[in-house]
């Protein structure tokens, strides 16, 4: 175990954890864990899915209490914190799962619980002052929406910006960011990294959780690695590098991910073709797209460019206003998700907590749900068949859980995502649409999911992968379509793949192509 610390050797720690232990029924989420946070220090916290990162942060946020161990803040030792204590000692917390109030506006959300008051006993909100206080915060996170916008009208990424602005608004001494970038595309991520550097300069400590290790490499002063709830090691600034983090996380070296540039496969026939589709978010922008068998088509774009909307229309959740869709050359009318599923078009949605899985059902019940008639005889469910399917998928995908009867809600984010994938893989996909499939997923699982997508493509499935992770889009796709304000601004073939090209298309500019006959419409 390495634990040399060179950053702030002389300052007293703001916060320290001693031998913290937290169990859930059947799971030891944290065990004998200790760490310290010094003023002005940026700590990168990494670990596989379910390693205990969020649990640790929840303890600091006062949301859960540890079973044993001590939390010392400013020299005062506690058995555990409550939310008020945590906030009172200057700990600001951006949760992994968003916690905003859709029915309130952005400003109200940012200063929720800390509203500026007008004089008088009635505790009236000083709305002018509130607006004044919010403006600089929104600017700092680079928001492209106004302070009066209802949160319900914002996209997931925009909501994440609101969460970050909220954390900044607290005169915090420690800001905890639990996967703040999981649905942020590259430009916004850059801004966030700048924000972190700014905080550090002001002497504010940051704990930054991310599965995008290169982000950690760029900002962290120290990296703390969790493995199965215990401290796997600490890396000082000069020791931080990708491979080392991976080694500590999973206990071995990971094989280099398949890089682009291998021999391009012969493209298959067109599986799904969308012609001049209009969606309700961008009714004025028709979208046309062809998806071939055996390919992974990456779909990139900036926040709110309309990718999720397109996926929802193809999957029959949202209404198609115009245009037509064909599957294997035959016209297809998808009026509901059930129609899509019946035709072998599956979607892994971006918000797994709300739409991907049923948190209250077991893993097995989630997996069999879309294909229940196949697990039934004369309309009566056969539990045996259900368990068999689930066991198989659990093994295939390496879902980490005590059993397939475990409630899905108790799984870590990454394992929940695997359950979503499992339910579709157990069926027979023709077209697989994945919306941010690796959002919040650890590096080992990510590699597995890439492998799964590749295997699907090799088996002749048409895969559409929506992703805001540039590395991922470039590393995994066979072709990349880029959306800009509701339209496909261009399609890149493998020889033209580059971050620059994707970005240019994403902001509506022409890419630099090797061959003149590029995919620009």
């Amino acid at each position: 175990m390495i634990s040399i610390d060179t950053t702030h050797p002389n300052t007293a720690p703001f916060l320290s954890l001693e031998a913290v232990r937290k169990t859930y029924p059947g799971v030891v989420a944290l065990d004998r864990f200790s760490m310290e946070v010094r003023p002005g220090e940026v700590i990168g916290l990494v670990g596989e899915n379910g390693a205990g990162k969020s649990t640790l942060m929840k303890i600091l946020g006062g949301v859960t209490r540890p079973d044993s161990g001590t939390v010392t803040v400013d020299g005062a030792a506690h058995d555990g914190l409550i939310v008020e204590q945590s906030i009172g000692s200057g700990i600001a917390f951006v949760h992994q799962e968003l916690n905003l109030f859709e029915n309130l506006d952005v400003a109200a959300n940012i200063f929720f619980g800390r509203e500026p008051l007008r004089a008088g006993p009635l505790k009236l909100v000083d709305r002018a002052k509130l607006r004044e206080m919010v403006a600089p915060l929104l600017k700092r996170v680079g928001a492209n929406f106004s302070a009066d916008a209802p949160v319900a009208s914002l996209s997931l990424a925009q909501q994440q910006m609101v969460e970050i602005a909220k954390a900044l608004s607290i005169k915090a001494r420690l800001v905890i960011l639990d996967e703040p970038t999981s649905s942020l595309p590259i430009a916004e991520t850059e801004k966030l990294l700048d924000v972190i550097k700014g905080l550090k300069a002001e002497g504010i400590s940051v704990i930054f959780i991310s599965h995008r290790l290169h982000e950690i490499e760029r900002v962290a002063d120290r990296v703390v690695v969790l493995r199965d709830g215990t401290l796997a090691g600490t890396l000082a600034k000069h020791q931080i590098n990708h491979d080392e983090m991976v080694r500590l996380m999973i206990g071995r070296m990971l094989k280099e991910r398949e890089k682009a540039g291998e021999a391009a496969r012969a493209p298959g026939s067109v599986a799904l073709s969308a012609h001049a589709i209009r969606t309700s978010t961008y009714p004025d922008r028709p979208v046309s797209l062809e998806l071939r068998r055996g390919e992974i088509l990456g779909l990139a774009g900036l926040v709110g460019s309309g990718r999720t909307e397109l996926a929802r229309v193809l999957f029959g959740i949202d209404e198609r206003l115009a245009g037509n869709v064909t599957l294997d050359g035959k016209p297809l009318d998808v009026g509901s998700a059930a129609d899509a599923v019946a035709n072998g078009i599956f979607l892994v949605p971006e918000d797994r907590k709300l739409t991907g899985i049923l948190l209250d059902l077991s893993i097995a019940q989630n997996i069999s749900l879309p294909n229940l008639p196949a697990h039934a005889r004369r309309s009566l469910v056969s539990t045996g068949a259900e368990l068999a399917t689930a066991e198989k998928q659990k093994k295939n995908l390496g879902i980490k859980a005590p059993s397939v009867l475990t409630r899905t809600g108790t799984l870590s984010g990454g394992n929940q995502q695997k359950v979503v994938l499992a339910k579709w893989l157990a069926m027979d996909p023709k077209v697989m649409i994945l919306d941010e499939p690796t959002r919040g997923i650890d590096i080992g699982a990510k590699a597995e999911i890439y492998g799964l997508m590749r295997a699907l493509a090799d088996a002749g499935v048409a895969v559409l992968m929506i992703s805001s992770d540039m590395e991922e889009v470039i590393g995994v796709s066979d072709r990349i379509a880029v959306m800009h304000e509701g339209q496909i601004s261009g399609i890149l073939d493998r020889q033209d793949f580059s971050q620059e090209n994707v970005l240019l298309l994403a902001v509506g500019k022409k890419p630099k192509l090797l061959q003149a006959a590029g995919g620009v419409e």
Binding site: S68, D360, L369
Partner: protein, 331 residues
């Protein structure tokens, strides 16, 4: 049978034992038959309600529906002299149609179940009262329908035929709710409708079906109630029966948030409620306290159930902690 249901059963038996100790006639065959008849009538109603509650919905109009459909049934066979099996089927179909309309308004037009069925509560009773011009629908003296009366109010070997019907319906509905694909869909939708939709379930159809089932069972119980009272004043007939049905479901472990509850639970809930009503009469408690006793027992039942759950969870956690502390060095 789940632990929850077992607890309820024990409560029913304990109350029964206490009442028997005070008034042994509680266990007389005639009292058991009378009470089981009402258990059947309210049970059929409550099963219907349970199907709706499990989807996270609610059906407030059942009391009014019992007034409307009962009035129509008696009017059909007593006044208009429709052949009774035909009238019987007509009423069930009407129940199904009304359930369908509720389901349609809720799933297609996205209205809230509480609102739709609250309007139903207001409208159906009004229609029934208008239909009879605020009078009473009833049989003339000596008007008899021996077959119908045997089926609805008759007894076979001392057991009310309505109770036999309840048992048959319960078994069928138990299979539907706990073993069938449809039942699983109901639970899934109750837990998270969006996610169920994303899994390719036609949630609109499933939810609508639940309201149709509720409508049909309500119509059936409306006929039973009509044949029990043999006379209906639409202004008061069936008033508050939706509360009985909901209370039975809640006592039986259903959550009004949806996705929880068992068929055995709702039957036991109904039994307990009828036992309480019976007890008030048998022990000579003032009738004014009837509802108060019911409310008190529901509250206590729900409270004990809830606190018991908390206690168990806490104990389990303690044990886990202890074990883990003990086992730690070995790791």
């Amino acid at each position: 049978m789940s632990k929850k249901d077992l607890g309820l059963l024990i409560l029913i038996l304990v109350v029964g034992a206490v009442v028997t100790a005070i008034n042994p006639r509680f266990l007389s065959t005639i009292n058991l038959a009378n009470t089981s008849n009402l258990v059947a009538l309210f049970g059929i109603l409550s099963i219907g309600q349970a199907f709706v509650i499990i989807t996270g919905g609610i059906e407030l109009s059942v009391g009014s529906l019992i007034a409307l459909l009962g009035t129509l049934f008696i009017d059909f066979i007593a006044v208009r002299e429709v052949n009774w099996p035909l009238a019987f089927v007509l009423i069930l179909v009407l129940g199904a149609i009304i359930g369908f309309v509720h389901g349609w308004l809720i799933t297609r037009l996205k209205l809230q179940p509480f609102v739709v069925t609250l309007c139903g509560l207001l409208i159906y009773r009004g229609v029934a009262r208008f239909y009879t011009a605020d009078g009473t629908a009833g049989f003339a003296f000596g008007q008899n329908f021996p077959d119908l009366e045997f089926l609805t109010a008759g007894r076979s070997g001392g057991v009310p035929n309505s109770f036999i019907a309840l048992i048959v319906i319960s078994i069928v509905m138990w299979v539907v709710l706990h073993r069938s694909v449809f039942g699983r869909y109901l639970y899934a939708i109750g837990k998270n409708e969006e996610a169920a939709k994303y899994s390719g379930i036609r949630t609109d159809r499933v939810v609508t079906s639940a309201y149709v089932i509720c409508g049909v069972l309500t119509a059936l119980s409306a006929i039973y109630f009509a044949m029990y009272t043999r006379s209906i004043s639409p202004a008061s007939h069936g008033q508050f029966y939706e509360l009985y049905a909901i209370a039975a479901a809640v006592l039986g472990g259903f959550s009004l948030r949806g996705g929880e509850g068992s068929l055995v639970g709702v039957i036991l809930g109904t039994v307990l409620l009828q036992e309480l009503q019976n007890l008030v009469n048998l022990l000579g408690i003032p009738s004014s306290l009837n509802f108060a006793v019911m409310g008190g027992v529901i509250l206590i039942g729900v409270l004990v159930d809830q606190q018991w759950g908390v206690f168990r969870a806490r104990r389990r956690m303690m044990e886990a902690t202890r074990q883990n502390v003990a086992g730690a060095p070995a790791e």
